[in-house]
């Protein structure tokens, strides 16, 4: 087993899947020669040639639209959108075609494709480089949306996504791309899509998070533990389809629920989870199921972003409020 960052795990997984399955093709802007602006695809073109890993023109609609065609005709495209903020030109393809091919053709065609994209804030970036758009995908019937928060899960989930018969949006929390390492087994394994993970068991409150927020919750938990508050942390891992059972089971035990996300609050993923908990665990609730999301504003540039990002202190504050409720 080797120690890897999330980014290295992704690179390693792409390599492994390309090796094992000659129908896997990888492309996107700057993906070939340079190996991607974050180097997620470094070395792949050299190893597998320009027909399996290549630079696309600056054309997101083209990247995703051609992936649809390739997937219909025998390939498994794993395409990269350079930053999630630039997926909008491809949104027509994603919403109108990627999500619908199976249902429109009543199963005659299906799209085994993966759309990878770095997302999320906290990297002092320019405009359009910090958003969290998971809802915009999760809201579309026909898509699966996956977000890893550790190198181990990155490999397991990406492997599962590539093997999935349906299209998967694979969002990568770029802020923690290289923030830590973890043991990643060399052999192929999958982390099933649609299965959340109880990262730590606790008794007083259930906190659900994903991506870079998992680490923030963990930091908050250190603080809270000293105050005698026991948090059960669930890493959602798959935004859609949601692992309802794991969440409800936990809330029925703890009686309190908080979801933390980087995405803006209104109509965000938190609303979905709170609704699910309210209906499914109504009789167990000691406090209102609550969401902690970003303000409903355009992500501020660096000189205002510190106001916007959710950190462990705010998470701890919100947890305390619910415990005291």
């Amino acid at each position: 087993m080797a120690l890897m960052t999330i980014l290295q795990a992704i690179n390693h997984t792409l390599d492994q899947q390309m090796e094992k399955d000659s129908t896997v093709v990888v492309y996107g802007e700057d993906v070939g020669v340079e190996g991607g602006v974050f180097r997620a695809t470094a070395g792949l073109q050299k190893k597998y040639g320009v027909e399996r890993c290549f630079d696309a023109p600056v054309s997101e609609a083209g990247i995703v639209g051609t992936a649809v065609g390739m997937a219909i005709n025998g390939l498994k495209p794993v395409v990269e959108i350079q930053f999630s903020g630039f997926m909008f030109p491809a949104y027509n393809q994603i919403a109108a075609h990627v999500a619908r091919m199976r249902v429109r053709s009543r199963g005659k065609y299906h799209l085994p494709l993966v759309i990878r994209m770095p997302y999320g804030g906290g990297i002092r970036a320019l405009e359009h480089h910090s958003e969290s758009q998971e809802t915009l995908f999760a809201h579309i019937p026909g898509l699966k949306v996956v977000i890893p928060s550790t190198p181990y899960d990155a490999k397991g989930l990406l492997t599962a996504a590539i093997k999935d018969p349906d299209p998967v949006i694979f969002m990568e929390p770029k802020r923690i791309y290289r923030a830590f390492k973890q043991e990643v087994p060399e052999e192929e394994y999958i982390v099933p899509i649609g299965k959340a993970k109880v990262v730590k068991e606790g008794t007083d409150i259930t906190v659900v998070a994903w991506g870079a927020m998992v680490r923030e919750v963990q930091k908050a938990m250190q603080e809270l533990e000293q105050e005698g508050i026991s948090v059960e942390l669930i890493d959602l891992r798959t935004i859609k389809p949601i692992d309802k059972d794991t969440i409800l089971e936990s809330v029925q035990k703890t009686g309190r629920f908080l979801v933390v996300h980087e995405a803006v609050t209104s109509f965000g993923p938190g609303a979905e989870l709170v609704s699910l908990v309210t209906q499914g665990a109504f009789l167990s609730l000691e406090a209102p199921p609550t969401r902690l999301g970003a303000f409903d504003v355009t992500v501020p540039l660096d000189k205002g972003e510190h106001h916007y990002l959710i950190d462990s202190k705010r998470i701890a504050y919100e947890v305390r409020k619910l415990i005291k409720y």
Partner: protein, 360 residues
């Protein structure tokens, strides 16, 4: 018409001032006043100094990611000099010197790259749209601004920009097509700096020139030596005049080169050879323009040296002002999302203030 004379399909390129500073097309040399020529030159120098220093500030840990313009000053200023007071500029993100020429304060431009939205709040009378990061969108905006001008008979022309990589986006096509259908008074400029981050120009399109793409839209197109400020001026001027006469848009390909990295976070050695860069350094637009001005008797080496020193101090001063702004107020995060803050924002704002008070 230049666009007939320099047919992109015949691989013709408009050049007036060659890389040694010699006039190669005497008949096309524009008749510009000393003042205007010096204004153009000085803006190019300011652009160069501010660009170089921004990279230095970044290397000192004081600036955020910066988009580097070095080598593209002629394409940026030659075009900007050809429009009038009432005209608009709709930029992409690599038009630093265009914006300076059109009256955007250096303070604003720095502030933006320093991570503060106030950088896009230009002073009254400066008709420039905010920098656009999402490639391609600006072409449709430009067409819209131009159509509004046409419909309201405002006599405004719009100058807009895109990179060579940007020509692959759908909106590049949609913007030009829309403009050509309605004869919108807009001039589309492609700054072909030969790279879209790591991807070379020839991997972006099979077209031999980018200018020839105009043909499909039924509008004139021309490839210009983008490091020749006079050629850029002349080509843009002709296009602007056409547009103002109501004859529709023109597509200009400025053939230039990005001497620096894509941004301060990019490493160009991954995808291009130093040899190639060295070749283009010889074609530096500032060198040939200076020669031209000196030969005309408008400028001297001494004045030149003094100008660089002066700008050096000026840029330092401006950057110090920018650094002094620091982080901005919480209120600014909420205040500008709508004309009036709706209830949900007021609540989020108040709750967060309450939180800050409580944790402090």
């Amino acid at each position: 018409m230049l666009t007939k004379q320099f047919d992109p399909l015949k691989k013709k390129q408009l050049q007036i001032l060659d890389e040694n500073g010699n006039i190669v097309a005497k008949d096309l040399e524009p008749n510009l006043s000393k003042d205007q020529l010096l204004k153009m030159y000085k803006t190019m120098v300011l652009g160069r100094v501010a660009d170089t220093k921004a990279v230095q500030f970044q290397r000192q840990g004081r600036m955020l990611t910066f988009v580097i313009n070095k080598g593209q000053e002629a394409a940026q200023v030659g075009s900007a000099a050809a429009i009038e007071e009432q005209d608009w500029v709709v930029p992409a993100f690599r038009e630093f010197s265009t914006l300076l020429y059109r009256g955007a304060p250096l303070y604003n431009l720095y502030l933006y790259w320093y991570g503060n939205e106030w950088g896009s709040h230009f002073p009254e009378g400066v008709k420039i749209l905010p920098v656009n990061i999402t490639i391609g969108a600006q072409f449709n905006h430009a067409t819209g601004v131009a159509l509004a001008s046409k419909f309201q008979k405002k006599n405004e022309v719009v100058l807009t920009f895109i990179g060579d990589g940007g020509t692959s986006e759908g909106e590049f096509h949609e913007g030009i097509n829309f403009a050509s259908v309605f004869d919108a008074p807009v001039v589309f400029i492609i700054q072909n700096n030969h790279y879209a981050i790591s991807v070379p120009r020839q991997k972006q399109t099979k077209s031999i020139t980018l200018a020839q793409k105009a043909i499909a839209y039924g509008i004139p197109g021309i490839q210009v030596d983008g490091n020749d400020v006079l050629a850029m001026y002349v080509a843009t001027k002709e296009a602007v005049d056409r547009a103002r006469r109501g004859e529709g848009p023109t597509l200009i390909e400025a053939y230039t080169y990005r001497l620096g990295a894509h941004t301060t976070s990019d490493d160009p050695t991954l995808y291009r050879e130093d040899k190639e860069v060295d070749e283009w350094i010889k074609k530096d637009p500032l060198i040939r323009f200076k020669k031209y001005l000196i030969e005309k008797g408008y400028w001297s080496e001494e004045e030149d040296q003094k100008l660089y020193e002066e700008y050096n101090d000026y840029v330092n001063d401006v950057f110090k002002q920018v650094e002094a702004t620091g982080f901005y107020q919480l209120e600014d995060v909420f205040k500008y999302q709508y004309a009036e803050m709706p209830q949900h924002l007021v609540e989020q704002y108040e709750a967060y203030k309450h939180y800050l008070e409580e944790v402090k």
